[in-house]
């Protein structure tokens, strides 16, 4: 199931976002404490992480930087009422956020941003899966080639045995 993490020190913001996202059928985990959100990163794999910017113990960008180390694949977004230039630059350069959303937010915009973040996440995952499959197939191919080389070294000519239509070995050279 697609898991999404929301971090904001204001519980009412989390409730309203949970309402907004409920029809989408995602598993939405909400946290008012940065420490708890960090703990959850060790337990679950998240597709998207959305954090507030200004919070008491750590700012959102610092949290997202941690999240990036723990779960580099999760797509990071900031939802902030504090849209000054410095905080945006920090969010982009340090936490490499995918979107910077502002409060008060537009419901449609938030859902659309999460959906496109999910697309990106799935694309990365798919990409990764294909790369791994490719690597595995290559390794298999290489092992097979090595086996053939070994056989050929042991018994020269064995890899070039010619067979008849019924499977019998043809010995005469022509």
């Amino acid at each position: 199931m697609t898991r999404i993490q929301l971090v904001d020190d204001e519980p009412n913001i989390l409730s309203s976002l949970r309402r907004l996202l409920k029809p989408q059928g995602w598993q939405v985990d909400t946290f008012t404490q940065v420490e708890d959100a960090l703990g959850a990163l060790l337990e679950h794999e998240y597709a998207v992480i959305i954090s507030d910017y200004q919070m008491p113990t750590a700012d959102g960008v610092t949290y997202l930087q941690f999240a990036k180390q723990k779960q580099p694949d999760a797509i990071r977004l900031v939802l902030s009422a504090y849209g000054d230039r410095a905080s945006m630059i920090k969010a982009i350069n340090q936490a490499e956020v995918y979107r910077y959303l502002s409060k008060p937010w537009d419901d449609y915009e938030v859902v659309a941003a999460i959906k496109s973040a999910l697309d990106l996440y799935q694309l990365h995952k798919e990409n990764q899966r294909l790369r791994e499959e490719n690597d595995r197939q290559r390794a298999e191919l290489k092992a097979r080639e090595e086996e053939l080389l070994r056989l050929e070294a042991d018994s020269p000519g064995i890899t070039r045995v010619r067979r008849d239509a019924d499977g019998s070995v043809i010995l005469n050279h022509d």
Binding site: N12, I13, S15, S16, L17, R19, Q54, A81, D84
Partner: protein, 283 residues
């Protein structure tokens, strides 16, 4: 005799002019301080507005679902149909969440209202006369205005004693308290504590604002009440906050003192007389 009389009126005229210039300075410092707080206040307001706005849109969705059910009362062929719709719209969830949605939104509106009325109390220009006022209420108003500057920097501890009403110009006392609170928050590097203490001693009321921030070095401590003296970077402070605070407290026939230990924190103490000696005459 005539010349003396002319000199006298001239003197009065200049005094009145000086008094007016002082008032303007006080007001512009207040507006500058509010300007610096504006970003923080916007943040304080945008949070509740954000979730109220979103909640209203969710509410619209809920109502559409509920209307689907009530409209079906007339058109449905059987009770089972109605029950099916009720199940489909997750009626039990709607019912319980509606209560939360409304309670949370109401809480948000209350918060916006509190902030706006605190801002209004705070920026009052007209009331320049001494009136009996509740200092604790003034402190709470000020805390509402500067909440955003404080809540990410410090825990606020209220250690309030019993205070009678004090003869003062409360909007000006609020301004002093705001200055001290914002300074205290700026002195704290990570996350600290700000203690606000009040007590009643004889004919005096005492307010203390103490932080556990970085403190003020002895050579700076002698100069903090000088106008334009500031250690804050350009654009962060006008250098007038404490000097105007000093003037305000002096005008109230009170005292303001600072005790500081570098590395441990600073405590500002304001002592105000409960009753002004000669009301309305501060010449």
């Amino acid at each position: 005799m005539k010349e003396a009389a002319i000199a006298q009126t001239e003197n009065e005229r200049l005094n009145a002019k000086l008094e007016q210039a002082n008032r303007q300075l006080l007001q512009s410092e207040k507006l500058a301080a509010i300007g610096q707080l504006a970003a923080g206040v916007a943040h304080e307001i945008n949070n509740p507005v954000g979730y109220i706005y979103s909640n209203l849109q969710s509410l619209e969705g809920y109502l559409n679902d509920i209307f689907r059910l009530t409209d079906a009362v007339d058109s449905a062929r059987s009770l089972e149909d109605l029950q099916l719709i009720k199940k489909n719209i997750d009626y039990d969830y709607l019912r319980s969440d509606l209560k939360d949605l409304l309670a949370e939104s109401r809480e948000g509106i209350d918060r916006v209202k509190t902030i706006i009325s605190a801002m209004k109390d705070f920026s009052h220009i007209e009331d320049e006369e001494f009136k009996p006022a509740d200092l604790h209420r003034g402190i709470e108003t000020t805390l509402n205005v500067v909440n955003n500057e404080l809540k990410y920097k410090a825990e606020i501890i209220r250690d309030f004693g019993d205070l009678p009403e004090i003869d003062c110009i409360i909007s000006q006392i609020n301004q002093v308290i705001m200055n001290l609170l914002v300074n205290a928050a700026h002195a704290i590097e990570e996350f600290g504590k700000i203690t606000i203490r009040t007590r009643h001693e004889g004919e005096q009321a005492i307010i203390e604002i103490e932080d556990n921030g970085k403190g003020i070095s002895p050579e700076n401590l002698n100069r903090i009440f000088e106008p334009f003296y500031t250690t804050k970077p350009i654009g962060k402070g006008t250098g007038l906050g404490l000097s105007l605070s000093f003037n305000i407290v002096e005008k109230h026939k009170g005292r303001i003192e600072a005790l500081s230990t570098p590395g441990h924190g600073t405590c500002f103490r304001i002592t105000l007389p409960v009753n002004q000696p000669e009301q309305g005459n501060d010449g």
